[in-house]
Symmetry: C2
Subunit: 149 residues, 2 copies
């Protein structure tokens, strides 16, 4: 849909259709609310209000408006699904996930350090055994220590 050439022969954008007004050339909503997706505007209008969205879009640069509308649509949909927490619920879930993963990573790194220390000790064993003519270096199943970093 070419919004700059909006005319009576083009369908109005989803916002103008919802608001029952003529979609004039230069309509601030038109490029971001195509008539094929009426729900997007309906959600954003219910949560933020058309006037607030219009003000916000006018306050930011044109090349950032699509991202702004999409983030507003995301927030609005989240608030429709979860009226109490909205997308802040997703933030809480993600924050807990980050804390859990960081703890797991710390624990795994600690385990890895213990293995690395144990391996260092093993090399010491190797040194202790170097002069004992053991089968150490002739072991049929050498370990791929080089792969460990």
């Amino acid at each position: 849909m070419s919004c700059s050439s909006s005319s009576s022969s083009n369908p109005p954008c989803a916002a103008c259709k919802f608001l029952r007004r003529k979609c004039l050339p230069g309509c601030i909503f038109c490029p971001y609310f195509p008539p094929e997706d009426p729900q997007k505007f309906s959600n954003v209008h219910k949560i933020f209000g058309a006037s607030n969205v219009s003000k916000l879009l006018n306050e930011i640069e044109a090349h950032q408006r699509e991202d702004a509308v999409n983030s507003l649509a995301y927030e609005a949909e989240a608030r429709m699904k979860d009226p109490v927490y909205g997308c802040v619920g997703a933030i809480s879930v993600l924050q807990r996930q980050v804390i859990r993963l960081q703890k797991e990573l710390d624990a795994t790194n600690a385990d890895l350090m213990r293995y690395a220390n144990a391996n260092y000790g093993t090399n010491n064993y190797g040194l202790y055994n170097n002069n004992n003519n053991t089968t150490w270096n002739n072991n049929p199943n050498p370990q791929p220590d080089d792969d460990i970093h």
Copy 2:
């Protein structure tokens, strides 16, 4: 501030003060917008509009309204700071953090598995050396293998 007993002797809540109206007993905003924090209502009003917030609060149960107001205030503040992405920006950052941590954890677990396999091999070495009267079991620096799980 006791909202149920709001009277002319009490200051109006931040919402009623902002909207220049009398704060009557039963005011839907009063318990969540104390007069000491005018910015909280100002932000929420600018982003969502007082009417939308009032509708939303009336649609949810009383015991959930405080959480709802706090999540709205969080979203509103995030949108004031970042008009393009709002708190969706925080979601993107957290999502990337989760992906990065999960990758790091997978890589660390893979390293741990290699050490575990190497350690299993080391025990094999031990078995190979068992009948060779080496200093294996008399090593002065035994490794704390028991700590590794």
